[in-house]
Subunit: 362 residues, 2 copies
């Protein structure tokens, strides 16, 4: 069944991706219904596709044998990419265990925010699955700032702890900034300590970043990993980021620069947003406004990464009008199931990295 | 004399700038030779000028009374802007002295590099002029890394020292990165400690940056100050930075974002550089390649800041082909005499800021 096949190739990414992307000429349809253009027309179509695909190392299945041509956007399935990374991590953790190294992650939860409880639970579960030891500290909502800082100081010194994660938001009587700064930068697996952000900024190439064992913020790193594993070539690509937040926009910009992409950052102050986003070969939306990126704001063949997660009366949706934009995009992430699953995965990656740095392996 | 007048207005900047900028229609000529278009033609010309000037709060002198129309680019004279800032600083330092606060800057020079000696001498002289106390440590070229680190540790603790500046390059047997990291971030008046870079990145608006007493890297801060004092409106402007260095490109990008500009960063990996630079309302060149930005790479009415300083057989020149680009630009910095004089000035600004933070005034 063609539909099944297409799914599989999306998972494997780069090497086998069927060109089920790019085109507004033919709208996305179930594989069964794709039009038969005949051999000659197929070839004509394909020269266009080849051109659009030029900047990515996509392996194109011209569909000549089948005589059909699937042209809808490739759906970038973050969940499956994340699963693949976790499998790789699991193997790595197993090898570390042979050397007597067991990565350890501490989560700290203050109070009983239900959403935070869900997140922490999910992190603990993910750790267990790949062999990271996790310790969950649950503190009452009236814990003082001093008590929390004392705990962090103790954890900073504990050699069994490679990563410390304070679940936000903290109760209002605690200075979040002070708490985050108290975490040893060498255990800052969230990657938000100014010294880690500063180090990231000071590196020119991704290779240098990886060699030095800097912790990258999880969502931005997830975005880059998703692009790379989907086979999108970033060097020389025009990348446009909508949103200049500290947790996504700015670090994504730095990581894209380290991949030799040309980078533009837009925001609420940008005069004509559509004019800028239409230039993008790769568009990253990270604003938090439901469906604000509409089809007229992208060019044909764009790759779209939607970081937004917005709760609307109709359910979860991203910053991109997915249904409309996917008709023009070469590849696009859905919400949910796109960037989201990458975030915890990159936290696990950082924790394993931290254990390796502590053991002198990086 | 019209030429004199134009000079004066450039110094005062924003409030009185005569529109002696923008146009390729009329090439720059001495004021004495400017063409008389007659009143009617003047008005036609001016509607174009008004449009080009739209995004900046320039005060336009339509020249109607004089019946002439000066259209060449405004030359942004960094030396005079720097002088103005130093005058303001001098007043501030005098007021601090009344409170018993004397800002102190230490320069450390290891070895006898002649260029470094010149730079240090110039810094010491500048400090003296505005009332900053300066201490210059000159160490022999064979000083060990440990000795240097010990000196820095001592200076970190010395309350009379508000800023520590290690003149680069250091001899090869000393790890520069280690030395720079050893400087207390609260005395890092160069603004290159990762924690200062990280803090800069974590702020959304310029106001927040200023309120927190973060030290901004001197050249990037000088670029922004030059733009602001020239009256260039940055909010919503399309700004393009050529060069992604840690000392200029990246921090300038962060500072421009904090001014609500749309920011694009280009570099050697950018496919069609001219295509990108032609979009710029404000173009910052910081590459280190003589005259690489040619007239065909800019649009009419651009504001150009040239950070490059290149030694060529014909003398010093910037990254911008000044003579050709000034015919299209609204305003442009020369090299030398543009950004250069701002750098030491912003070092003085940081030192005074550090003294104020130490005294609890910020």
């Amino acid at each position: 069944m063609p539909e099944d096949r297409s799914q599989k190739t999306e998972v494997r990414g780069q090497k086998t991706a069927v060109i089920s992307h790019q085109s507004s000429v033919i709208s996305q349809q179930p594989a069964e219904e794709t039009k038969d253009y005949g051999l000659k027309k197929d070839r004509g179509q394909m020269s266009e596709v080849r051109e659009a695909v030029d900047y990515g190392p996509w392996t194109v299945d011209y569909g000549l044998r089948r005589g059909v041509c699937e042209m809808a956007a490739q759906i970038i399935k973050g969940k499956e990419v994340a699963q693949q990374i976790r499998l790789e991590l699991k193997e790595e953790v197993a090898k570390l265990k042979e050397k007597g190294i067991v990565p350890g992650l501490v989560t700290i939860l203050v109070g009983e925010d239900p959403a935070s409880q869900v997140y922490v639970k999910s992190k603990v579960k993910s750790c267990g699955e790949i062999g990271i030891e996790s310790f969950n500290h649950v503190l009452p909502a009236d814990t003082s700032e001093e008590e929390l800082l004392n705990l962090i100081e103790k954890l900073n010194k504990d050699p069994k702890v490679n990563g410390i994660l304070t679940q936000l938001p903290l109760p209002k009587h605690i200075d979040t900034n002070k708490v985050l700064l108290a975490i040893d930068p060498a255990k800052d697996v969230d990657g938000f300590h100014p010294i880690n952000i500063g180090k990231l900024n000071a590196k020119k190439k991704r290779k240098e970043i990886d060699q030095e064992g800097i912790f990258l913020p999880c969502t931005p790193n997830g975005v880059i990993e998703l692009l790379k594993r989907t086979g999108v070539k970033l060097r020389g690509a025009e990348t446009v980021i909508v949103g200049r937040s500290n947790i996504v926009g700015k670090p994504v910009a730095m990581l894209l620069l380290a991949e030799d992409a040309t980078v533009t950052i837009c925001h609420t102050g940008t005069k004509d947003l559509g004019e800028v986003t239409r230039r993008a070969d790769v568009l990253i939306a990270a604003v938090g406004r439901p469906k604000m990126i509409t089809a007229d704001m992208v060019k044909e063949g764009v790759v779209v990464i939607d970081v937004g997660v917005n709760r609307t009366p109709e359910g979860l949706c991203g910053d991109v009008d997915f249904e409309a934009v996917k008709e023009k995009a070469k590849a696009i992430t859905p919400v949910p199931g796109g960037v989201g699953p990458m975030t915890i995965t990159m936290l696990l990656v950082n924790t394993v990295k931290s254990a390796k740095v502590a053991a002198g392996l990086i």
